[in-house]
């Protein structure tokens, strides 16, 4: 259970599911084996004040489901500080939280009011921790002496996610990869490693566009496009 240490912190206390929300969760599968698909997008739906959660005024609402899985609701365009504790009192710090939800935020589309789309998904803390740790360690290898070793690690990690058919995680991985500002070199490696599944991934093109931008900082656009040839 969360404890609010500061009145400015959002209320992350738990609330039960209501039938209303559960019925909206078209893709929610709590009975199956969840180990291969930790980031499971459940449903996106319009924010309806009359049916909102108790503490919908805050950016995030999180509901423990089972083990280390949380049902999370993210309100677009409201980036405020928050704190999340697991039922066992495990504190998720901001970088880890951002890591988990940055991909989620980018999936939200603007609407007329610019703030009225909610996305909900099941988040597995263990998975977040693992991917976050991996990318942070990988970032340490994004230096000249270690780059090929790091890129090989990147290939193997992507392969592992593909092996598990964990394409949602791989899309999240791509967005987090971009947010951690990896080099042009590592972007090439990411694009090469995901080439085989490019038609399955929704975020890969963002990495490609970001690679072009990064490349243009060090060479001409023509050279960048030549370098990236075949990785589209």
């Amino acid at each position: 259970m969360a404890y609010r240490n500061n009145i400015l912190e959002p209320n992350t206390s738990t609330s039960p599911f209501t039938d209303y929300y559960f019925n909206k969760s078209q893709d929610l599968n709590l009975s199956g084996n969840n180990t291969s698909n930790f980031f499971k997008t459940i449903v996106s739906f319009g924010f309806e004040p009359a049916n909102s959660f108790n503490n919908c005024g805050f950016a995030y609402n999180v509901f423990p489901l089972f083990d280390n899985n949380y049902f999370a609701v993210v309100l677009n365009k409201l980036s405020i500080n928050y704190r999340l504790f697991s039922a066992n009192g495990v504190f998720l710090n901001k970088p880890m939280w951002d890591f988990a939800f940055d991909p989620c935020r980018t999936m939200l589309s603007d609407t007329e009011n610019n703030d009225s789309i909610l996305e909900t998904r099941v988040i597995n803390v263990n998975k977040i921790t693992e991917l976050h740790s991996f990318l942070i360690q990988l970032k340490n290898k994004d230096i000249e002496e270690m780059e090929i070793t790091g890129m090989k690690d990147l290939f193997l990690k992507v392969d592992e996610l593909i092996d598990n058919n964990d394409f949602l995680s791989l899309d999240d991985f791509i967005i987090s990869f971009i947010s951690l500002e990896f080099s042009f070199q590592f972007h090439i490696s990411l694009l090469a490693s995901t080439l085989k599944v490019k038609n399955i991934l929704k975020k890969r093109n963002i990495a490609f566009q970001n690679a072009i931008k990064l490349g243009e900082q060090i060479m001409s656009t023509e050279e960048v496009l030549l370098t990236l040839q075949g990785l589209e």
């Binding site: 990147l154 392969d159 090439i188 090469a192 080439l195 085989k196 040839q229």
Partner: protein, 230 residues
Amino acid sequence: MPSFLFPIEQFKSQPKGSIAVTLSIHKDSDFLHSGLAFRDGDQISFLHLASYKSLRCEDLYQIAGDYVFFIYTNFSHLIKTDPHFFRRKALIAYLKAIYEKNKQTIPYSFLYKKVPFDKERKFNPELGQIGLTCSTFVMAALEDNGIFLCNKDSWPARHDDVEIRKRIISIYNEDPRVPKEHLAIMESELYCVRFRPEEVLCASGRFPVPCNFKDTVECSEKALSNIKNK
């Protein structure tokens, strides 16, 4: 030696991130052999499909003495499209990853249609390839990275490839690792198109790629005449 072919000793002076397609002949055989040389830091490696289910990544200069002939060509496509070595370093990382996953997975067979590595980058016969040769391993590894050396449709089937294939099958006949069923499949592929090691070497020296068969003929003849002079 033609200006576009280099003895393998010169690869030592290439910068970090360099990659080359190689052509060699082992002391214990007269078969031409294809592979990839690459440099990661001070480490220079030779990745090659040595035989049935035996993909090897070796210290190039530790094994170079085992070969009577060992040359490489400048990889023109990468030199022209990747002046800053970004793509080449990523390719080296890929080669290392694919080696880790496929040390003992790739059978030897003649017919080559497409990349046989699945989404997890493991050799997968369900994709339609029964195996690879040393040359088609090089092609497949590059194709898996979006680099197509050869316009496969332009390659002809040649009768003089049948004899060398029969010799290869007879060698594998003595190899207890190779199932009889696999040998039967190799027999059925005797007359298919062959991408010869010297042609894959020469294709890597061309720009742009993919190149057609006729674009490799002159270079291949020069490479072979160099071998005969050894």
